[in-house]
Symmetry: C2
Subunit: 385 residues, 2 copies
Amino acid sequence: MTRSVSLICARTCYASPVSQASLSRRNALIRRRNQCRFSVYASKDSSGPKVAIAGVTGAVGQEFLRVLTERNFPYSRMKMLASARSAGKEVEFDGEMYKIEELKEDSFDDIDIALFSAGGSISKKFGPIAAKKGCFVVDNSSAFRLTEGVPLIIPEVNALSMAEYKLGKMHGGIISNPNCSTIIALVAVTPIHRAVGIKRMVASTYQAASGAGALAMAELEQQTRDVLNGDPVTMKIFNLQYAFNLFSHNAPMTDNGYNEEEMKMVNETKKIWSTEDVDIAATCIRVPVMRAHAESINLTLCSDLDEKDAKEILRSSAGIKIIDDRANNCFPTPLDASNRDEIYVGRIRQDISQPGRTGLELFVCGDQIKKGAALNAVQIAELLL
Amino acid sequence: MTRSVSLICARTCYASPVSQASLSRRNALIRRRNQCRFSVYASKDSSGPKVAIAGVTGAVGQEFLRVLTERNFPYSRMKMLASARSAGKEVEFDGEMYKIEELKEDSFDDIDIALFSAGGSISKKFGPIAAKKGCFVVDNSSAFRLTEGVPLIIPEVNALSMAEYKLGKMHGGIISNPNCSTIIALVAVTPIHRAVGIKRMVASTYQAASGAGALAMAELEQQTRDVLNGDPVTMKIFNLQYAFNLFSHNAPMTDNGYNEEEMKMVNETKKIWSTEDVDIAATCIRVPVMRAHAESINLTLCSDLDEKDAKEILRSSAGIKIIDDRANNCFPTPLDASNRDEIYVGRIRQDISQPGRTGLELFVCGDQIKKGAALNAVQIAELLL
C-alpha cells in the first residue's frame, strides 16, 4: 500500500541551493526549497520488513524517519524506540502517529531491521541482544566499527563487504555505519584510490554543529543570538564559545596527540579499504556551521593521475556531485550540501607540492546528518533487502 | 612628551580570552576584557619621525592607530590620508583629533614613514612616489611583495633582510608586509624550519571575515541576524551566503587551480625564507569568524624532530604563545588570538602519516588585522628607527 504524504522540510535557514555560477539560480533554488512541502510515496506493505528506530528523538533518529520516507523504504511495521524519558511521547511517520516505546531487551523480539542511533553504550548493550534475536542492527555509533567480523559499510564504497547479510538468508547481525567524516571523505576519494591507489591522505575538517547533536545546534544558534545582542554566551555542550569561533574537535585525546575523531578517519578508512597500506593523518575542527561538514583533502597517489582524469573519474562515480567551476570561482559549500544526498566535490587540482602528477587536492562537503549518518544507514538497510 | 590616554577596545563580542582548561578563568578574562579601558603612553616627541597613514579609514588603517598607540611608537607629526571621499572627516589618535587629508602626490613631501593599507592600486601609484621623496613606505598590499629588491618582512623571521633600511641612513624605500595567512603560518613554522629544515608544507586555512575588510565583517554580522530572523540574506561583498557557511577563498583563480591567496603563501614563503627548496600547497577557506585566522599545517621535515623538542623550540621563539593542553583538550581558537599580538600554536604532534619523526602537524591561530597586517607593519616601521 502506498500513500501520499506531506513532509515539512527541516528549517531551511541553514540550507542554501546547489552552487551554480549564477546568483539568481541560487536564489531561485532557495525560494523553491523554502516552499518545500512535497509529496512522496511511502511504502507500508505487509511483505516489508518490520523496522525499529532506536534513538528516534535525536537529530539522526529524526533524520532516519525523513530518509526512510524519501527513499520509499518498504516496511510492514514500524517501532519507535527511545529512552524511558521519551517513552509515551508521539512521533509522526508516513502520515501515522506512533507512540514512542522505551528501549528494552524485548524491543527487538519481532523486528527484522533496527536502525540504532542512541549512543555507543546503548548500542553496546542492546545491539548484540537484538542481533541474537535475528534482527539486523545498522548501528550509527562507534561501538562495533572496528570489531572483527562486523562489516563497516559505505554502500558506494564497499557494499560487497556485507554481501552475505540478507534478510531471510542470515539470522541477524550487526553492521556498522562509519563516522560522518570518514563517510564524507571516502565517498569522494575512493574512486581515486580504485583508479591509481592512494598512498597517503592528509585531511583537515570543517565540522558542523550537528555532529554533536541537536543540542549543539541549538547552542550554536543561541550563542550567536547572544553575541549579536551583546549578551554573555552560555556554554553547556562545549566549554568554549562556538558562535563566530572554531575549535579543535572535543573528542577525547589519544596517546599519539590525535583525538578520537581523527583516529576514526585513520582506522575506519583502513578497515573499509581492507588495507594497512595507506598513511592517513587528520585534523578535525568544529566550525560554526549547522549541518554539513567540509574537508580539505591532500592525496599522495601510488601512480600518476592527471587532475582532468581525476575529475572525470569522480564525475562518473556514485554519490558524488562535482562543483568545480574555476572560471566563476564556484566550489562546494556546506550550505550546498545541506539536506542533500550527494557528497559535493570541488577544488580538484594537481598538488603543486608533490612531483609531477603524484599529488591531488580536493575540497569536499557532505551533509553530516544525512549521508554522514541517517542516509548511509538506510542505504545499508536497503542492501539487506 | 608622553601622555596618558584612554582607549576603548574594539567590540569585544567576537573576542574571548586566552584559552585555559578552566571555564571560570576564561569567563573572568572575558569580563576583564569587556571592561578594557586602559591607559597607554603614546610618544609624540619632536625627535620622532613624521608618520603618515595611507588608508586610515579602513579596518587595517584603524588598527594601525591602535597599534601605534599600544606600542608607544615615537612620532613628531602624524598625517591621516585617505581617498577624496573621506577627506575632511576627523579621526582621533593619541588624544588629538586629526583632519583626514586626500592622498595625493605631494602627501609624502615631509613624511619619514608611511604605513600603506589602501589597496594595491594606490600602493602601486603612490608607493614609488613616496619612496622617491625619501619616505619609507611599509606597504600592506600585495603590489610589491614579489618585486626584486623590495624586502618582504616578518620581523620575527627575517628582520635581517632589511638591515640596511634605516631612517637617516637610507633615502627612503618600500618594504612589503606579507599576506596575513603567510605571516601567521611563518611565525609558527619558521623556528622549526631553522631547527631541522622544512621540505614540504601543506596548509588548510580557516580565514576570518576581516581579511576582506570591514564591510565583509559587517556583511557577516548582518547576514547572521537575517538568518536567525528567518529573513533572506543580502550578498554584497561575496556572492555566497557567509552566515553559518564557509567557502573557498574568493581570490582570483590562477592557471594551476590554486587561487591567488593560496599562491601568496607559496611564493611569499619562498621569498621570506630565501629558498626555492621547499614545496608548499595551500587550501584557503573563508569561515564565519570575525577577525582571527586559523591554519591546519602539515610539515615534512628535512630531518627528524621529536614533537616534544618541537614544542620547546616553539615555546622559546618570538611572537608565539603555546596552547597545547592535551589532557584538557585545550588548544588555540580564533577568539583566543583576537586582539592579541602573538600567534597561538597548538596541536603540536608527530604526523602519524609520515615515517618516524619526519612529519609534524600544528594548528595555529592569529589575529588577521593585528599580526596579520597592522602590527606586523608597525613592527617593520620599528626596525627603521
